[in-house]
């Protein structure tokens, strides 16, 4: 098969992986704009969510909770419930970690917070590895047949349709939250100017807690969806996606959640389409090269404002 004829299929893979990256990217972007630092632990928060989901799934299967597949999907209601609970637990874990660690370092500035997040990243990854081991764990054992997409020369699985649709729904939800709720407005105000937000009486502690709820919850969903797409998860899951997420966030304009979504989808597609032309071994470097080029041409990113 020549490189060109593969492209429609690679585009489909790219949109799926870009949707997952975008859910991670929203959290990175919100943490950056509201808490003021690049959170290097975000990938491992995704992995944490994926493993909490795995644990819950095992629990549900053990008690015999309905796991008959939902329609054409390869998983059942037990899986959906596990995903929702994992998102909640991951969000709760992030609020606790924020209280214990980040909150006490906020006075020390963004670089110290970034460093603490790197320590947290390694800590989380190895806590996961301690309990679950380095080997892959299968999320879904059922095999699914990809069906042809009418009109283009590509196939898609119903699980992948689920990933894309869920990502769109969640992105729309975040948009509605930021746009129309009081807390959403407070978050945008704090992202614009934290000091000003504080004098106007915005409860910044609550804003920060909500930032972790949204970022952590979406990260958990992203980690679980990565498990659905790949069928298995390893403790390296989040770390492997982190560079692509950062590249996407910078490409879209760091600190702008909408930019992060666009950037992450572009990175997802570029990574997959690149495999038609260059060795798959270099796939992780594609995001990095795009990011560097963007920094050279337009450091503020696609939707970024001037610093």
């Amino acid at each position: 098969m020549s490189a060109i004829t593969q492209i429609p299929q690679l585009l489909v893979y790219g949109i799926v992986s870009g949707s997952i990256l975008a859910l991670g990217g929203i959290g990175v972007s919100l943490t950056y704009s509201i808490l003021g630092f690049s959170n290097f632990a975000h990938g491992d928060i995704m992995a944490l969510g994926a493993y909490i989901g795995l644990g819950l799934l095992g629990l549900f299967t053990a008690v015999g909770l309905a796991d008959t597949p939902l329609g054409p999907l390869s998983f059942g209601p037990g899986f959906i419930l596990a995903m929702v609970l994992a998102a909640g637990l991951t969000a709760a874990a992030m609020i606790i970690i924020d209280r214990l660690l980040f909150r006490k370092l906020r006075h020390a500035g963004p670089i110290i917070l970034m460093m603490a997040s790197i320590g947290l990243a390694l800590g989380l990854r190895n806590v996961i590895q301690f309990f679950w081991g380095p080997q892959p764990h299968y999320y879904i054992a059922r095999i699914q047949v990809a069906v042809p997409i009418p009109g283009i020369d590509a196939r898609i699985k119903s699980d992948e349709v689920f990933i894309i649709v869920l990502a769109i729904v969640l992105v729309a939800g975040v948009h509605a939250f930021l746009r129309y709720t009081k807390m959403g407005k407070a978050m945008r105000a704090m992202a614009d100017n934290a000091a000003l937000a504080r004098v106007t009486g915005i409860n910044t502690d609550r804003v920060i807690a909500w930032t972790w709820v949204i970022g952590g919850g979406l990260a958990a969903v992203a980690g679980i969806l990565a498990g659905v797409e790949n069928k298995f998860i390893t403790p390296q899951l989040g770390w492997q996606m982190l560079l692509s997420i950062f590249a996407g966030v910078i490409l879209g304009g760091i600190g702008n959640p909408y930019g992060a979504i666009i950037g992450c989808v572009i990175i997802g597609i570029s990574e997959e389409v690149s495999t038609a032309f260059i060795s798959t071994g270099y796939k992780p470097a594609v995001a990095f090269v795009i990011m560097i080029l963007m920094l050279l041409v337009r450091p503020t990113g696609i939707l970024g404002r001037k610093a």
């Binding site: 670089i111 970034m114 947290l120 390694l122 560079l243 950062f246 992780p284 990095f288 920094l295 450091p299």
Partner: protein
């Protein structure tokens, strides 16, 4: 007495590793401690230095290797200098697009370059022998010293066992001396740079870059110089590592060993203080090696023990950041107000 030689040899081995980390830590100190550049891709420069030196000094490809290039059999010193130069050039390339931007970008870019270098090392087999890595990297003066020790032992039969064991590892003693000399020379250079007007400017950049720029200093140029000098020192560290290990592969330069440990060493020892950087590398490597012995008595598997130790090092970093951010030895120079 039979334990004595074993323990002493272990200490030598330990000190060679910790000393090599000390070199890397000094390189990071000039970037982070002096200037406040947040380079989290130390592993990339470390690997680049090691591979450059191994290819310059090492033998031509063997028949069983995937590699078709490199191995020039040049003297060790050429490898050491070559490693520093290549790392310096890569630092310029990475510094130009990122040093004008917020610290986050440099952090992300350096972590990206480190991962990309590891990908190149794994994929470009013609140069690097891929995941199999480079083997039979020569150690400087190995034949002379090791051969001499062997000849001495053969000429003097009936030596006590402990003396015999010490003489057999004569090369390690030599290499330790080499590491310590390199470390000391680099320490003097970095210390001198820190005291020079140049050092005052870069510390001013760390404290307040805008104010330094306002005083007419080209802060971008100073930051680039810092990045380059630090990267060159890291390259030297890589070269020192390669010629002792004699075998390097992409797996030797994973982020934990290649970057994170060095950061913890510097932060714990005291950022901005060169003696702190060196002290930190011995203390943290001591904790890392010591916990290996300790976890043998824990009812956990080897992989679990390794995870536990990494969690411990990560916790150590957080504890230092929370309760003693200046490290064991705070910077000797007063903070600019």
């Amino acid at each position: 007495m039979e334990h004595f030689a074993g323990i002493l040899n272990y200490i030598v081995f330990f000190a060679i590793t910790a000393g090599t980390y000390g070199i890397l830590s000094l390189g990071l100190n000039i970037q982070w401690g002096y200037t406040g550049l947040f380079n989290i891709g130390v592993a990339g420069f470390y690997a680049l230095g090691a591979y450059t030196s191994a290819l310059l000094v090492g033998p031509a490809p063997s028949a069983w290797e995937e590699r078709t290039f490199g191995g020039f059999g040049l003297p060790f010193i050429v490898g050491l200098i070559g490693a520093a130069l290549v790392c310096g050039i890569v630092a310029i390339i990475i510094g130009i697009p990122t040093l004008r931007l917020r610290a986050d970008y440099l952090a992300i870019a350096t972590i990206g370059i480190a991962e990309s270098i590891r990908l190149v090392l794994s994929n470009e087999s013609w140069l690097t022998n891929g995941v199999w890595g480079l083997q039979q990297i020569p150690s400087p003066l190995y034949k002379t010293i090791h051969g001499g020790a062997d000849a001495f032992i053969n000429a003097h039969p009936g030596l006590p066992q402990w003396l015999h064991d010490l003489i057999v590892s004569a090369y390690d003693w030599f290499y330790l001396a080499l590491v310590l000399v390199v470390l000391f020379v680099l320490y003097l250079i970095v210390e001198r740079l820190g005291r020079a007007p140049w050092g005052r400017v870069v510390r001013a950049i760390r404290e307040d870059e805008d104010a330094t720029a306002m005083l007419g200093k080209n802060t971008f140029a100073f930051k680039l110089q810092t990045l380059v000098i630090g990267a060159m020192i890291m390259g030297i560290g890589g070269s020192i590592y390669a010629h002792y290990a004699r075998f390097i592969s992409p797996a030797s330069f994973k982020p934990f060993y290649g970057t994170f440990l060095i950061w913890v060493m510097l932060i714990l020892g005291g950022s901005g203080n060169n003696r702190g950087a060196i002290l930190g590398s011995f203390v943290v490597w001591g904790i890392w090696a010591g916990t290996e012995f300790l976890t043998r008595y824990f009812p956990v598997s080897a992989t679990q023990a390794a995870s536990l130790r990494i969690v411990l090092i990560a916790l150590l970093l957080e504890v230092v950041l929370l309760w003693r951010p200046q490290g064991i030895l705070p910077p000797c120079t007063k903070k600019l107000e």
